[in-house]
């Protein structure tokens, strides 16, 4: 397929169809409305399922039902709507059901505002539903990458039988960029092994369930899931590591703010300051290993996020005290400028960064 100019939200919706998603369940909320609007037309054209549910709670439970039946299925929403989906996400994780959940994030807390923000790192990465579970979380920084990751997300969901999330900051959802949709081969899984597809005449009956009233049985279910999480950590962690050998300071940023960090790095270079970037593409699993291979010249890591400081907690865990980490954020929908974070980098370096 040739490159076409598409808005982020529409491009990732089209990617979902190309990925073989056969059912969408959602509820209107800004700034993700282009996704259900686009899919309401395209799913109908393709003879697929589109349902505008009565709430995000219902939508995620419809996803649970359709996934239980073996369908490739998705929902999308924005921050307050994702909050309502947490119960369903926990059930999906508990019952080992695959699905794709897209959150086009906005500023909070509460009703907050509809401008771009990254205040939902904790919501996506640390969960919000009950119980011990994780979900892979993708964070693209361009429209092209968003569509590539949609394909990947559906495959990872099926392969490991897990809900997968993608967080798209409001900017990426709204901006237009050239994009080429290249669906990779679909992973092969036999869903009839677990799906409640109403075929109990052809095989033994299947049950989809997260309940286990025996302590030891439930403990075992948890351990099985966590063994898969270890595989996901090993095989599915993605990041962009661009750190020069003589870097003095390293930015850590995800989503569109990582592009602002790249501009700041260019500004610093003009002033003779060598700076690098670690960009987590999966927020969970977090690319911890990148932080252990930083050159000795690095005096500080500067985490630039559109939040009061959320990802910085994972950066500090990864650094484990080896290098000091600082946070710079704007919130409420305000976005920092490249020179603003470049200045912050200089301020930190002036203070000396790393203590020796």
């Amino acid at each position: 397929m040739a490159k076409v100019l598409m808005k982020g939200n529409e491009a990732l919706s089209e990617a979902a169809i190309k990925a073989g998603c056969t059912a969408f369940f959602g509820y209107p909320i800004t700034p993700q409305n282009e996704i259900p609007e686009y899919l309401s037309e395209r799913m109908e054209q393709e003879g697929l399922v589109f349902v505008q549910a009565e709430s995000e709670v219902a939508a995620i439970n419809m996803v649970y039902g359709a996934s239980a039946a073996g369908a490739r299925v998705m929902t999308s929403s924005s921050s307050p709507g994702i909050a309502l989906k947490q119960e369903g996400i926990s059930y999906l994780a508990g019952a080992r059901l695959p699905c794709f959940i897209c959150s086009v994030t906005r500023a909070g807390p509460g009703l907050g505002g509809i401008l771009p923000a990254q205040a939902d790192y904790f919501q996506a990465v640390k969960g919000g539903g009950n119980g011990d579970y994780y979900t892979p979380v993708y964070a693209p920084n361009s429209v092209q990458e968003a569509t590539d990751l949609v394909f990947r997300a559906f495959n990872v969901a099926d392969e490991y039988r897990t809900p997968v999330q993608m967080i798209v900051d409001g900017m990426l959802g709204q901006m237009m960029e050239p994009v080429e949709l290249n669906p990779p081969p679909r992973v092969k899984v036999d869903k009839e092994l677990y799906a409640t597809s109403g075929n109990s005449d052809k095989r033994k009956r299947n049950i989809v369930n997260s309940l286990n009233l025996s302590g030891l049985g439930l403990e075992q279910m948890n351990h099985e899931r966590f063994r898969d999480y270890e595989k996901i950590k090993e095989k599915e962690t993605l990041s962009e590591y661009d750190v020069p050998k003589d870097a003095e300071i390293v930015f850590c940023a995800y989503g569109v703010p990582s592009r602002i960090a790249k501009n700041a790095i260019s500004l610093l270079k003009k002033e003779g300051i060598s700076a690098g970037l670690i960009r987590p593409i999966t927020l969970w699993p977090f690319p911890e290993k990148d932080f252990l291979k930083l050159p000795k010249t690095v005096k500080a890591v500067l985490v630039t996020e559109l939040s009061m400081g959320q990802m910085i907690e994972d950066v500090r865990l990864a650094l484990n005290g080896s290098i000091p980490a600082y946070h710079y954020g704007r919130v409420g929908g305000v976005v920092f400028e490249p020179d603003e974070i470049a200045e912050e980098a200089k301020r930190i370096l002036k203070k000396g960064g790393k203590k020796k």
Binding site: F25, V51, A59, N61, A69, G70, A71, I207
Partner: protein, 257 residues
């Protein structure tokens, strides 16, 4: 001596023994559903959705595919399943706390969309599983563990009438209220369940049977007394009968007392 089988456990039920209390209505209704699914020849293509409540383990009992849903969300899970497999039979089995309290929105909107799914709704006027707390269907004056002085209209309003409410939703297709307090009514309940599933098989849309059902343990009375309670206390407030047939309101739903 040759033996002749005159009564057997339905093939629609698994071998697992029920965990329900003696005198509970859940087991009776499970048996009826299982028999109906076998008689209609759809057991193998049916998917059950169990609720959170005493019947949470229903997936263990129905001899077909089964999904366990979050509290109140069974109708949403059911339509997800049905959209993914439109030629299969999907039903949710729900209690009154599940359906008429936490899951009210999911229930009303299943009817509102005219989902081609079936709900079997067990109204036992109480939260059985959690130890006998007040439900939206608990009768005025009825004592429960969270209405120790009896339910009062002042604080809690009058008990909700679910089939009457859903009858007013334009897209609901077939709605009936029955009871399982005696044999004649158990037979009528089976006929209603059959009609509800037939509605779905015919692709006509949303069907629900509300079944008045005893909970002797939650009510703190003996099983025989519980059957009397259904007849004497519940039935006058929750009149039995068909409230919507073929998408049309019946005389009953017009407001008979």
């Amino acid at each position: 001596m040759a033996t002749k089988v005159i009564y057997d456990k339905s093939k629609g039920l698994d071998e697992k023994p029920f965990h329900y209390c003696p005198g509970c209505g859940h087991g009776i209704v499970h048996k009826l559903i299982a028999e109906v699914l076998v008689e209609l020849g759809v057991l193998d293509k049916t998917i059950s959705v169990s609720p959170v409540g005493c019947s949470v383990l229903a997936y263990d009992y129905f001899n077909c595919d089964g999904v366990q849903a979050a509290h109140g969300r069974a109708p949403a899970v059911a339509i997800g399943l049905k959209k993914a497999c439109p030629d299969k039979i999907v039903f949710s089995y729900q209690g009154d706390g599940d359906l008429a309290s936490i899951g009210t929105a999911e229930t009303v909107h299943a009817a509102h969309r005219g989902d081609n799914t079936t709900i079997i709704f067990i109204n036992n006027a109480i939260y059985g599983m959690t130890g006998g707390q007040m439900a939206p269907t608990t009768l005025i004056g009825q004592k429960t563990s969270t209405s120790p002085f009896g339910r009062s209209k002042k604080n809690c309003g009058l008990p909700i009438k679910v089939v009457e409410m859903l009858a007013q939703v334009p897209s609901s297709h077939y709605l009936e209220r029955t009871s399982v307090h005696d044999f004649a009514n158990i037979r009528k309940t089976k006929a209603a369940i059959k009609k509800a599933f037939q509605t779905q098989i015919d692709g006509k849309g949303f069907s629900m049977v509300e079944i008045l059902s005893p909970c002797p343990v939650g009510w703190g009375i003996a099983p025989i007394k519980a059957m009397d309670f259904v007849k004497e206390q519940m039935m006058p407030y929750y009149p039995l009968g068909v409230y919507k047939d073929n998408g049309e309101l019946t005389k009953l739903s017009g407001g008979e007392k």
